[in-house]
Amino acid sequence: MRRLIAGIAALAVVGAGTQVTNGWAAEVVDATGYIVKAEDASRLLSIGGDTTEILYALGYGDQIVAVDTTSQFPPEVSTKRKVGYMRALSTEGVLSTGATLILASAQAGPPEVVKALRASSVPLVLLPDNTGPESLAEKVRLIGRAVGAEAKADELAASLENQLRELANARSRISKPAKAIVVLSVSSGRALVGGRGTTADIMLSLAGATNAAASLNGYKPVSDEALIELAPEAIIAVRRGPDEDTAADIAALPGFKAIGAGDDVPIITMDALYLLGFGPRAPQAASELMAQLYPELPR
């Protein structure tokens, strides 16, 4: 209770999400409003691909003892212990990693396990959800405060914000935004397309394109006929591994042939984690996508 009051007082004085430094032991207000006392970043459990990428970018890769199955970048993360899919965690499994600090995506679950972990002696910091480009720097700063690398996190966040500003500048030079779709995969003759509320949607808007599939909610399979109706001017094929050739799968579908995919309508192939992971590489991925969508645009 005292901690709560102290936290609220600190909040009132210096604004939301600010730490009370003490050595580096910090009281961090996480994305759900909980006041978490973080004081030991020697053994980290990272839940969420973006969280893991940010920790590596801040130089905390070696301190990570375990990750969830969505953490797949950088490649060295494959040697870490896995606590399972982030929405199907188990309380005891998480505690068995011996982590001294848990950094988790807003999507971590199930809720009962998050609740039980909150009651444990291991501090748990929940990160904000990916609602838009601004959540990127927000996540970086929160992680930085929790692990005691505030200066470095500020630097990274500032650089990300800078890249986002450059993207905005570049977008202002686009005279006519392209109508594009992001195809996650092709299965049984239908393309899985990213609609509203997906990171694919955010990335398209960052790259200065409009999402031709914005009428859909989430990732949805789209039939040939509906695809012709969407009439995209560019198709972004998401590849989940070096062996996957989504672009070829797409070009083979009749509906895509009908709209001239591969000829008049370019198919741009991008790596799934790079394009949709929404970690520190997101602005770079958006800028690369923009360069491919608008090759004529001055750099």
Binding site: R87, E92, E112
Partner: protein, 365 residues
């Protein structure tokens, strides 16, 4: 017992052999359950064992704040103990419900899933997941982590009531109508579940898939409290239904002439099983297989007498789910496998082995 007096003379000695076997099965089942519960309490990815229990109890009693004590208390008393109890209750409820359904419908394949109870519960749960962020938002938020279990229970119960309304005509319940209407309701619930799965987003779809495979990872004392009344009522009522179920083995008319109040028995069996299955689905998701495999296993060993089938199903059902749950948390530790997968992997081969050994002769319930 009415059934006993109906046994044919030459079958009498076989029957008493089986009876003795049945009692041995009950005692063995009880012992194995105690053993399984102890294993479940002492095994987990953190490596804490029962030897840490005194420390955990002391921490709970004195409110000690030492991290190691808090850790032991959390793992043993807040995670493993409720999980073990929950697993036992879920297993016992599903197995007894299955045994009763098979007895009531005189159909070896009957289980609560067949008359649409589980499908109704699943539909309501899926609706909560799928519409929780939009349509049903306010009350889902108000109920918090209780929204899903409450919805599942409600869904199972509503389905049962609709079913009884359809099947009851002029004060009697036609078993065949009950069965067919149950299948139809199950199909409707299944279709609506599919429709909801289609409109959900990616994240909700993952939740939905995971939920449908069942898990006890979210066990808590609140969930134990939630299932206890339903499981206890079902288990405590079983002795009073044995005579009716044994009578129904002979046929509905025969049971009636034996002086069994068939109508009220049907009503009690359906409502009791619906409530218990609804509660089990609510706290652990859908866990298949227990309701079919366990009662058959018992019948293969000890014969169709419900005096043995019901209590032995409760014990073995509890053992099966407790053991499967230990496997669920250990095989891919520190991650967790859905218990439904384990259940099929453990249960199906054992069952198959028994069926083959018995020359494929499944004793009808």
């Amino acid at each position: 017992m009415a059934i006993e007096s109906l046994s044919l003379p030459h079958a009498a000695s076989a029957s008493s052999d089986r009876h003795a076997l049945g009692w041995r099965l009950l005692i063995a089942g009880g012992l194995v359950l105690v053993l399984a519960a102890l294993v479940s309490l002492s095994v987990g990815p953190t490596g804490l064992t029962l030897s840490d229990l005194p420390r955990a109890l002391l921490a709970a009693y004195s409110g000690s704040g030492a991290p190691a004590d808090v850790h032991a208390r959390l793992v043993l008393l807040e995670v493993r103990l409720p999980r073990t109890i929950l697993a036992a209750f879920v297993g016992a409820s599903l197995a007894v419900a299955g045994a009763m359904m098979q007895g009531l419908f005189r159909n070896p394949l009957a289980d609560p899933g067949l008359i649409g109870v589980s499908s109704g519960a699943a539909l309501a749960a899926v609706a909560t997941i799928a519409l929780g962020s939009s349509f049903a938002g306010p009350w889902v938020r108000a109920l918090g982590i209780w929204a899903l279990p409450a919805a599942a229970f409600f869904g199972g119960f509503v389905t049962t009531i609709v079913l009884m309304l359809i099947a009851r005509r002029h004060g009697t319940t036609a078993i065949s109508t009950l069965l067919l209407a149950g299948i139809a309701l199950g199909a409707i619930a299944g279709a609506l579940t599919g429709l909801l799965a289609y409109v959900t987003d990616d994240r909700e779809l993952r939740d939905l898939t995971l939920w449908s495979m069942g898990s006890l990872a979210g066990a808590s004392w609140q969930k134990v409290l939630a299932i206890t009344p339903f499981a206890l009522v079902l288990l405590l009522m079983t002795p009073r239904l044995i005579r009716a179920l044994n009578g129904l083995l002979l046929g509905e008319a025969e049971a009636f002439y034996l002086g069994i109040e068939v109508e009220s028995a049907k009503l009690r069996i359906v409502t009791l099983t619906a409530a218990a299955v609804g509660a089990a689905v609510a706290v652990a998701g859908t866990i298949g297989f227990v309701g079919i495999v366990v009662p058959h296993l018992v019948r293969l060993i000890a014969g169709p007498d419900h005096r043995i089938v019901l209590p032995a199903s409760a014990l073995l059902g509890a053992v099966l789910v407790v053991v499967a749950d230990v496997a669920a948390r250990m095989i891919v530790a520190p991650a967790e496998l859905p218990i439904g997968i384990i259940m099929a992997v453990i249960g199906a081969p054992v069952f198959l082995h028994l069926v083959i050994r018995r020359g494929g002769a499944l004793s009808a319930p």
